[in-house]
């Protein structure tokens, strides 16, 4: 369970989150929608522990543990995963090597044994097949020269392998063609589990037809200004954000 209480955050003296409160229960898929610049990516970075953000007030608890005290890699090992809106390229580091480094780094932090190479390769191949990622892509430098859609699939592949218990997807649907959207959504749905929660950031109702959320939250001016069920997304599609923009201001 993720609990965010009264979160105030600034970056370079610019206040972005203004007393945001949000709870996501185990097994829940929560969608976050909201206008450009409302602070959705900022929220995901702050949860994941990106340096440079100043948390002025509030707390973030993952299964009761205060994650603000942990460094980003420790949060990852504690089961927090962020699928990036813009995944980064790591030239010269084969995707397969990167996956293995990440997997073993997390295991080491948790005091677990390294995974046997054969088991690891098998797991990667299976996950890649499921997401329609060709094997030769795993030998290429991570994300280097990948298309927008390929990068997003690679994020979901990593999520599947690392088996986190709290997943944040930041606009994973943007840049995906219709077929890829289906494949990726199926990948996410396959990971739905009573012990795993999702925070899905998106601008489009379309994604939520495939990944059906339990709750929908609207963000504006760094706050959650309205929460509801999946019908709220449909409502937004019809009305837009006009009401909310004024509401918080």
């Amino acid at each position: 369970m993720l609990e965010i209480r009264n979160l105030h955050v600034s970056i370079e003296d610019k206040k972005i989150l203004n007393g945001l409160t949000l709870t996501v229960h185990d097994g829940e898929v929560a969608a976050i929608m909201g206008p450009n610049g409302s602070g959705k990516s900022t929220l995901s970075y702050v949860i994941a522990g990106k340096p440079d953000y100043e948390v002025l007030d509030g707390e973030i608890l993952l299964d009761g543990q205060n994650v603000l005290e942990l460094e980003a890699h420790e949060r990852a090992a504690a089961g927090l995963f962020l699928a990036f809106q813009y995944p980064l390229e790591i030239p010269g580091v084969a995707t397969m090597s990167f996956l293995k480094a990440a997997m073993n780094a997390q295991r080491k932090i948790r005091g677990e044994e390294e995974m046997a190479t054969a088991d690891f390769m098998k797991a990667v191949r299976a996950a890649a097949d499921g997401l329609g990622i060709p094997q030769d892509m795993l030998r290429r430098g991570l994300n280097v020269g990948f298309s927008g859609g390929e990068k997003k699939r690679m994020e979901i592949l990593q999520m599947a392998l690392l088996a986190p218990n709290f997943c944040i997807l930041d606009e994973t649907d943007s840049g995906l063609d219709i077929d890829a959207l289906k494949v990726v959504s199926e990948g996410v749905n396959a990971l739905r589990d009573p012990k795993r929660a999702f925070l899905v950031i998106t601008h489009y109702q379309r994604l939520l037809n495939y990944i059906v959320p339990d709750t929908v939250h609207v963000m504006a001016h760094g706050q959650v200004v309205k929460s509801g069920g999946k019908e709220l997304a449909l409502e937004l599609e019809a009305t837009g954000y006009a009401d909310y923009k004024t509401l918080a201001a």
């Binding site: 994941a48 522990g49 990106k50 340096p51 440079d52 460094e71 980003a72 890699h73 949060r75 990852a76 090992a77 995963f81 962020l82 990036f84 995944p87 980064l88 390229e89 790591i90 030239p91 010269g92 580091v93 090597s97 990167f98 293995k100 480094a101 990440a102 997997m103 073993n104 780094a105 997390q106 080491k108 932090i109 390294e114 430098g141 990593q158 690392l162």
Partner: protein
């Protein structure tokens, strides 16, 4: 990626000081008096029991050197060196020429053991080491032992110290010494010609593929002592050899000079692959102490279709001034230069290569990866020239710089000279930074900042690491990570 993990573990195992080769060995030493004059040159030559022509060669070099000036064109700064405040000869007291390891001072053997250099053939044969490597161990001014000599001799390969070569094969040394790097080539090369004390000699006869890797391990131990080694490798027609040198020195407050000369010669269809892992003491974080590494390395592709390939991993030294070069004389010959130069703290690196295309259809390839961190300065300086007769020559140059932090500098200085209309030059250069975003991305996947940096750097240097023999590539990878320790955070 197990290697990254290992690297990080190793980095953690090293306490405050990152330089793990910084210990010194207490020994009884035979030292020349301080300073440099003709008597010192005579003394060195006498210590080595050299033939008269060699002494004359040295004295001639010394007299020329007196008229020369230090080069100032490199992008490095240091106080003027007092050449009379250096010891030019220091040797551990021992039997004139130890025939077996049992005759070598145990303290020296212990030193190499601590450095992880295998000197005991039986241990290597027993499989401690994955593949066989013959080692020439040079300690301060002298070679203390060369392994696997007997086995190499069976293949006709000569691998010994240059002092021994002067005694056993004077005609070979005389024929080739100074023919690639002339006595008066430059200030430091001329100084080396006058006072060089030891180094390795390799001769690969016609048609022989050297049955194992050859390597020389240089260790500076004594205080205030310069190391002036001279290496000469000759590959006769159709032969092949892969050679590796490694270097370390104790941690000392004062700067020490290392001015080596390496000459390589390949005849028709011969190939020399020369790899260096240079890890001289770099000085402390404020720039105190460290080695001045002023080195002249040059290969002469004398024969048709011959090939010389330089691979260097440079992580040490306070100052590096080094341009391993190829003279592509034989038609169809090929020169390669693969370099990783890492600078951290206050280190200064000015390094690169020269590819001199003289023959027809000659080709060269330059891949240089510079990594600067801390407050260091890292310059790539490369020259490619096409002679009038170098019809259809081709060069490809790629030099990439990676910056870690914002207090370091990376500079690229290419020189190109074209005297033949058919010549083709290709040049690519990039400068990039390890971005905060890349680090965070890796960290989000579970890598700590040091692991993330090591991973990104390994990716950056991959093309060059691949050129090194397997075992050394792993070593080099560790070394690079250790050198960058403390550069993030």
């Amino acid at each position: 990626m197990a290697a990254v993990q290992e690297t990080v573990d190793q980095v953690k195992a090293i306490d405050v000081d990152q330089y793990k080769y910084g210990f010194s060995t207490e020994l009884e030493v035979d030292k020349a008096p301080l300073g440099l004059n003709e008597d010192i040159v005579r003394l060195i030559s006498a210590k080595k029991g050299e033939p008269d022509w060699m002494l004359e060669w040295r004295l001639d070099a010394y007299r020329r050197w007196l008229t020369m000036r230090e080069p100032t064109w490199a992008r490095v700064a240091y106080p003027k060196i007092d050449f009379n405040d250096i010891y030019y000869y220091a040797a551990p007291k021992m039997n004139a020429a130890p025939q077996t390891l049992d005759e070598v001072d145990p303290a020296i053997l212990e030193t190499y053991k601590k450095l992880g250099i295998p000197l005991r053939e039986q241990e290597i044969l027993a499989g401690v080491q994955t593949s066989k490597v013959a080692v020439d161990a040079v300690f301060d001014s002298v070679s203390v032992v060369t392994t696997f000599k007997a086995e190499l001799a069976k293949a006709g390969v000569i691998f010994c110290s240059i002092s021994e070569a002067l005694k056993e094969h004077p005609e070979l040394v005389r024929k080739y010494l100074g023919t690639v790097v002339p006595v008066t080539d430059n200030f430091y090369a001329t100084l080396n010609a006058a006072v060089f004390t030891d180094g390795s000699f390799v001769y690969i006869p016609k048609g022989v593929r050297c049955p194992m890797e050859l390597s020389t391990y240089f260790r500076i131990n004594e205080r205030n002592t310069g190391q002036f080694e001279r290496t000469l490798i000759i590959a006769e027609e159709g032969s092949y050899v892969s050679y590796l040198e490694g270097c370390t020195a104790p941690q000392r407050d004062e700067n020490q000079l290392h001015a080596a000369v390496v000459e390589l010669i390949t005849m028709d269809d011969a190939e020399i692959k020369y790899s260096t892992v240079q890890n001289w003491y770099p000085g402390d974080k404020d720039g105190k102490g460290g080695i001045y590494n002023f080195v002249t390395k040059r290969g002469d592709c004398r024969g048709k279709n011959s090939k010389i390939s330089w691979t260097q991993v440079e992580t040490g030294s306070a100052i590096t001034w080094k341009y391993p070069s190829c003279i592509l004389r034989g038609d169809g010959s090929r020169g390669e230069f693969y370099s990783i130069a890492v600078s951290n703290g206050m280190q200064q690196v000015d390094s690169g290569t020269k590819m001199i295309h003289l023959g027809k259809n000659t080709t060269s390839r330059i891949i240089s990866k510079g990594i600067s961190a801390g407050r260091s300065q890292n310059t790539y300086r490369g020259q490619v020239s096409a002679h009038r007769k170098a019809t259809n020559m081709r060069n490809f140059t790629n030099c990439d710089s990676l910056l870690i932090g914002d207090q370091c500098g990376a500079h690229t200085v290419p020189y190109m000279e074209c005297n033949n209309a058919t010549a083709v030059f290709e040049h690519e250069a990039t400068t990039s930074k390890i971005s905060e975003d890349q680090l965070f991305y890796c960290q989000q996947r579970g890598l700590n900042p040091e692991e993330a940096t090591a991973l990104i750097v390994n990716g950056f240097v991959k093309d060059v690491l691949q050129q090194l023999p397997m075992e050394f590539a792993v070593e080099a990878q560790k070394l690079i990570s250790i050198s960058l320790e403390g550069s993030v955070g």
